[in-house]
Symmetry: C2
Subunit: 422 residues, 2 copies
Amino acid sequence: MPNSTARYQSGDPQYLEKRFASRAAGMQASEIRSLFAVASRPEIVSLAGGMPNLSALPMEMMASVLNELILTNGAEALQYGSGQGHPKLREQICEVMALEGIRANPDDVIVTTGSQQALDLISRIFIDPGDVVVVEAPSYVGALGTFRQYEAQVVHVELDSQGLVPEALRQAISSVRATGHKIKFLYLIPNYQNPTGVLLPADRRTEILEICREEQIFVVEDNPYGLLGFDRPSPNAMRAEDTENVIYLGSFSKTIAAGLRVGWALVPPSLKEKLVVASESSILCPSNFTQLTISSYLADQPWRNQIASFCELYKVRRDAMLESLEEFFPPAAVWTRPGGGFYVWVNLPPEIDTKLMMPKAIVAKVAYVPGTAFYADGFGSWAMRLSYCHPTPERIREGVKALSGVVKEEMSRRSSAFELPK
Amino acid sequence: MPNSTARYQSGDPQYLEKRFASRAAGMQASEIRSLFAVASRPEIVSLAGGMPNLSALPMEMMASVLNELILTNGAEALQYGSGQGHPKLREQICEVMALEGIRANPDDVIVTTGSQQALDLISRIFIDPGDVVVVEAPSYVGALGTFRQYEAQVVHVELDSQGLVPEALRQAISSVRATGHKIKFLYLIPNYQNPTGVLLPADRRTEILEICREEQIFVVEDNPYGLLGFDRPSPNAMRAEDTENVIYLGSFSKTIAAGLRVGWALVPPSLKEKLVVASESSILCPSNFTQLTISSYLADQPWRNQIASFCELYKVRRDAMLESLEEFFPPAAVWTRPGGGFYVWVNLPPEIDTKLMMPKAIVAKVAYVPGTAFYADGFGSWAMRLSYCHPTPERIREGVKALSGVVKEEMSRRSSAFELPK
């Protein structure tokens, strides 16, 4: 090997870094990534991850779907496909969305590698550096990461137990505009929001849609959990009420299987071509194999019953979590009571820093996600997200109990720290 | 539905377009996309697409691999996975790369949704608007599309029958630098290049690596066809010779199945974290399901023999194409003679415009890709790419014969147009 390699490289270990684009500064690992490595150890009760629980999915059935697919249509399943996604799956996606009141044309659906890719592509198409994206407070960590990579400014708007507060949205829009910044869109998760689990009721949906139309801000409605309501169906999707000012994102990750990485965007027709071109540039085309796996499953299996099984599985876990929070957590803590989805949001007294508290929780063999992960601005230090989707109910009780001990100790340590020495 | 929807939207059909980011201007459908819709009709002999030929892949074997995977490891295969890609597959990828002389650490491999995603992520990390990317003339249409989306300026450097011309690279670098622009990297496909089919010999690889080190320009080596040499193995990968200044992109699309969308990047350690963070923002994680399908296949099936079968299948088709070009094409046409891969590049006399000629070819029931698709600057109007990978040898002969008729007629029409009227 020529000497020159050693010469110039060892002289400058930052050779590649110096060539980064300016946007690379926003590519920082989220604080929950390193956490997940620890939380996945078997002795830890992980209330951290949002991994779907696959114990209700019959593997024999999946194996038979795949066998049939490969033997009857393997040459298509294993080949490149369309950048927009497979036409048959796009029709079936419209049937799935009809459950939430959406009437859509398969031509306006773009299949993506999980709905995360749709978020990425929408950011790519719309966000110039410095543009504002309005989100709930708190919001999905993966969306915040993407907006940051496209150098957006994220503005959080108050969310209460009924979801995004319309009046706070009005105020935020007018404050942002007073500073001269452009608002590109409102991003929200109306059903069983990540990370809080709250549901936006129908009347607020209508009011928020009206505000956004008046203010000419379009809405990105992210809906991975909409079919996972435990007690009653979710209200109609916002896209059902407004076909022109809403980009809707859906996913099979929580209703079938996350490992297939199949999501989609339903967009106004004027946006379709740009989105397809952006997706082709990003991944050429989504996997025919995973798309046709889902398509065969939807065509031949009782998928509505399967979703009902998932709901039953998650409901039992939600109950276990709420009951054990009630039983073990101190009165100063308050939390949400989700009617579906995966998450409970807990607010502790403001002197608690849940990020600093994490190592103690790990010692007590329980993990959660600190609240700051869900804010773009460092807020949320006294909050935490607890997921009940994956562990057994017994493990959830065990984890919540262990965590309550850590919280109580932290509260007493913090309050004694403020006492004067005797 | 409130009236306001109809009011403001119908008043401004360009509502969304007006909110696009500036980079959206570069998101234009490539000229070959609309073509593919026509070329895929069964009556057309398509020499246009680069779709791998799956007729050599035993579907019973794939079905059995999948059955075993789901029944023994379904809960992992259908779950979210790591952003960097599955550790076992990353080890196996290192074994595959060893065939081309690469010694690599699985820690430095990032699995992507096809190598297209790796191209997208590298562009995202490195390209600021206006930066220069140096590529072969002509180059892969999908890479050009990605570079355009990140607002790069693409500079093409001469390629001859032995690949990129080192002296032309030196000159291009010095010309670009004289204009004050920053060169971010050299992108090239050393093995059976897309679209020309040419192979870069070992001595030029070394010379190009030396130039790039001297000039402090890193190399993106895209290698989807490296294992598809028909007569002899390809020279060692450029990455085998230079571990620090080369980012290597690989893919299973041409050696196993494109529909799985599994590719990878092998990067210098200093780049890994940024690439993983960028990928998580783009797709959260690659599909465990498709990764483990490939991993099981590599572990349990004779994959080297399978690649040998693919080579045999493509070699027969390459021979059919070269023989029929020799037999039917006019003496004024010249073409490359690939030793592997999927493509032949044909130069016609300069008065021919292959884009304008396309409708006539379609009438004659044959399709190809016009040369301009492979240049960022409109060059290549008298060239075309012919793919031999997919049709049968008989259909290839039929297609080349039909195309030769179209070319001859176009040549005689063009030359008579320059004659004076009698």
